[in-house]
């Protein structure tokens, strides 16, 4: 398994050097966006949630970083993941992305190889679909979609959804095969500047199928509705 990871790492480094070499005629750009940086008020314990992405590169090739996680109020980080991906434009609107994901939390820690497709689907849906193969050989997938509904030029309502799937049970992580969970959100932001927008919204997480059964067995909630308030920012 280590050899497998080393191979991915090597491929990653090779591609990284290509990103900087390929587009020498035009400047590369650095982009960072905290799509969600929010406080979640929910039954039980409130939490802090982040979901951010950034990239470095040009029009065709980018080095992409993604991170998301959650920290319950007054406790240590409960869930966290970091992805480093190489992204290559395959159509006008879509990038193929490949790289590594590492989850420092929860325990036991896992590393994953990632293969994904991110871009703007018809009708202006921002989508991201990814396959994850863990260092234990477990396969899972995630699909997210967002839409922006302009109420005015600056007041924007953003529905968002996320679905996670697993190909097999991963008992150590409380995951059952099938659709593991779904998350729906609705956030209303006001763009004071394009780059800086405070928002409020609602979010609803639901564990499903065998994953829900496992959660019930461990005495965890299978459904977490929350009110959220946060800041969306980018530069």
């Amino acid at each position: 398994m280590n050899r497998y990871c080393a191979a991915i790492f090597l491929m990653f480094c090779t591609l990284t050097s290509r990103v900087s070499a390929m587009e020498e005629h035009e400047p590369n750009y650095i982009f960072f966006q905290a799509e969600q940086f929010e406080y979640r008020n929910q039954e039980g314990r409130d939490s802090l949630k982040w979901d951010a992405q950034g990239w470095y590169g040009g029009d065709y090739n980018k080095l992409w970083l993604k991170t998301e996680g959650e920290k319950p109020a007054g406790d240590k980080v409960e869930k966290a993941e970091i992805q480093a991906l190489l992204s290559h434009m395959v159509t006008d609107f879509f990038d193929v992305q490949a790289g590594l994901r590492y989850d420092p939390e929860p325990n036991p820690r896992r590393s994953y190889a990632v293969l994904g497709l991110q871009g703007l689907a018809p009708y202006y849906f921002e989508t991201d679909a990814a396959l994850f193969l863990s260092n234990k050989g477990d396969l899972s997938a995630r699909f997210t979609a967002e839409y922006e509904l302009l109420l005015t030029q600056k007041l924007i309502l953003q529905p968002a959804m996320e679905i996670n799937l697993a190909a097999q049970d991963v008992k150590a992580l409380g995951i059952g095969a099938g659709v593991t969970d779904i998350e729906l959100g609705l956030r209303l932001r006001y763009e004071i500047r394009r780059e800086f927008a405070p928002y409020v919204g609602v979010n609803w997480e639901r564990k499903l199928g065998q994953t829900a059964d496992l959660a019930r067995r461990d005495g965890e909630d299978t459904e977490i509705p929350s009110l959220v308030a946060g800041i969306r920012l980018w530069f």
């Binding site: 035009e26 750009y29 029009d59 018809p122 302009l150 109420l151 005015t152 600056k154 394009r194």
Partner: protein, 573 residues
């Protein structure tokens, strides 16, 4: 003896100064330096030629040998390009193509003979410096007398000033291509459209645009500009004086980085006498649209002793440039209201967009047509002029500057074709332009090169045939051949295409009277052709003159190389 020579020299200088002719060699010194400038919220560090924006007006005479010393006092490379001027390619001032640029602290001396007359301009061709303020007018006096009379002669140089550096603007667009569009369709416009067009039509329209991942509000890439005339904002009101009855020549130059203008002078008709420095048979118009980097010379004759406003609305209607023609300084005419921002229709999208579902397209087209039909009742359809003017004795295949898509599909109409503000007014279209003198060596082109104008709005880069400049091979022409370039605009933006060093003979169906241009505007979804006499050896730039389109890839190097072909063209009769 020495005294004698001194006297002779003085006499010669005096004669030169008095007659203004016979100057067959002159030297001009230009210095490029950073400067603080601003029009709104204070000043910022920018770049200027001889400490002024625009740079000084360069006045040449046809036949003159000019020497221009350009000194770079900045700590970054720079250049000056003489836009529309026919010269040896090494003097053309494009870093990476004609020379290696002007390094910090260096002086580069340009040397060339003036072989033409008319209104032109000059600007930096390095990076995005042009928008910072590095542009200025060029006026070339013809060797023979002008074919029209005028009493006053003013430059009206339009430009767009931003409080943001051009690099920052490009960065914003790369990360969020809608960054500057604050006129997007919202929930409000949805309900408005539902009440006007019905729910079904509105949904179909939204679906058609959504399918393409495009928006009809995408009229310009950048907003937030302050529009200037001769370096003055609308408030500062540049003023040109006249006495009633005088004929005033206005040399309109669009030195903007990214902005098109609809120009009119309420109360006055404009007689267009020159386009891109070349005399055309006079056209009387109420209004004209000037694409980025074009020039038009118009003559107006105000009879009343009152101020007249030169009103130049940006195409996206985010603002206007304004100046005044007045009998006395300090006067100010009425300023018209900005017209509503235009919206693209499905006709503007053309009918050949790749990767599009035709079913979705047809629905959209129907919805668009409904809308256009309604507009016709209230305003003069802009197509009429174009269609009528262009129809005169020309074949259907060659009607540039007009709504081809609209003509092919009755009822479908461009949303952004210019329309006169004055009811029944006349807007200049390319079909109106007819050269003053026939082009001597007019003949059928030897071959045709089709260029698809392409781009990726979402990622914000632009290209030709889907290939960016950085990845493209040069276009090779044989010296002496005559090549037809056909531009097929597959994007939703207008592109002012500019060829260095050689004329583009815009095909308006007038054969040897086709006008000579250095910039041709290709509206979205349209196709037009130009014939290029490859009569200048060397390496030349060819690009979209929207600064950020050029910078992100809508550019080519054109190489004109030997051996010399049989039919060498010599130019005008």
């Amino acid at each position: 003896m020495r005294k004698y020579w001194f006297g002779l020299a003085t006499l010669f200088t005096l004669i030169t100064l008095i007659t203004g002719s016979g100057v067959f060699a002159a030297t001009y010194d230009l210095t490029i330096d950073e400067m603080r400038a601003g029009y709104n919220r204070g000043q910022r560090l920018t770049m200027a030629i001889n400490g002024q924006i625009p740079g000084p007006t360069l006045r040449f005479t046809e036949g003159e040998d000019v020497t221009i010393n350009v000194t770079n006092k900045m700590d970054t490379d720079t250049s000056l390009h003489w836009h529309g001027i026919l010269l040896p390619f090494t003097q053309d001032g494009v870093p990476g193509i004609s020379f290696s640029g002007i390094k910090p602290g260096e002086t580069f001396t340009y040397n060339f003979k003036i072989k033409q007359a008319g209104t032109y301009w000059y600007h930096s061709h390095s990076g995005l410096q042009e928008q910072e303020g590095m542009y200025g007018p060029i006026i070339i006096t013809p060797a023979k007398r002008e074919p029209y009379k005028y009493d006053r002669d003013y430059v009206v140089m339009l430009s767009d000033w931003s409080d943001e550096k051009a690099e920052a603007i490009l960065g914003h667009l790369k990360k969020n291509s809608d960054y500057y569009n604050y006129a997007q369709r919202t929930a409000g416009t949805f309900f408005k459209d539902v009440s006007e067009n019905g729910l079904a039509a509105t949904l179909k329209d939204r679906a058609a645009w959504g399918q393409m991942r495009m928006t009809p509000t995408d009229i310009s890439d950048v907003s937030g500009y302050t529009f200037l005339i001769n370096g003055k904002s609308a408030e500062q009101n540049w003023t040109g004086l006249f006495k009633p009855g005088e004929r005033v020549r206005l040399r309109l130059i669009n030195g903007s980085a990214m902005s098109y203008f609809d120009v009119r002078i309420p109360g006055l008709k404009m007689t267009v006498v020159q386009a891109d420095g070349n005399n055309v048979q006079p056209v009387l118009v109420d209004e004209l649209r000037i694409a980025v980097a074009e020039t038009y010379d118009v003559i107006v004759q105000p009879e009343e002793e009152k101020p007249f406003t030169i009103f130049a609305e940006s195409l996206d209607r985010t603002g206007y440039a304004r100046a005044t023609l007045a009998p006395k300084a300090g006067m100010s005419g009425e300023i018209p209201a900005l017209r509503p921002r235009p919206q693209l229709s499905m006709a503007d999208m053309g009918m050949e967009m790749g990767g599009m579902d035709m079913a979705g397209m047809e629905h959209g087209a129907a919805a668009g047509a409904d809308k256009a039909g309604r507009e016709e009742k209230t305003s003069m359809p802009g197509m009429d002029h174009g269609a009528m003017a262009g129809m005169e004795g020309m074949d259907h295949s060659a009607m540039p500057g007009m709504d081809m898509a609209a003509m092919d599909m009755p009822g479908m109409q461009s949303g952004i074709a210019p329309k006169a503000a004055k009811p029944g007014g006349k807007v200049l279209v390319y079909g109106d332009l007819k050269a003053m003198r026939p082009y001597a060596q007019y003949r059928a082109p030897d071959r045709e090169i089709e260029m698809k104008l392409t781009g990726n709005m979402q990622r914000y880069f632009w290209s030709i045939d889907g290939v960016k400049f950085s990845d493209a091979e040069p276009v090779r022409l044989k010296y002496g051949e005559r090549v037809r370039f056909t531009f097929v605009n597959q994007t939703m933006m207008s592109h002012p295409m500019h060829l260095h060093g050689m004329w583009m003979q815009l095909d308006t169906g007038k054969k040897k009277f086709n006008p000579l241009k250095h910039v041709v505007n290709v509206p979205p979804g349209q196709t037009l052709s130009v014939d290029v006499p490859a009569d200048a050896m060397g390496e030349w730039a060819f690009h979209c003159h929207l600064l950020l389109h050029m910078a992100t890839g809508m550019m080519r190097k054109v190489i004109v190389e030997g051996p010399v072909a049989a039919n060498v063209e010599t130019g005008h009769e």
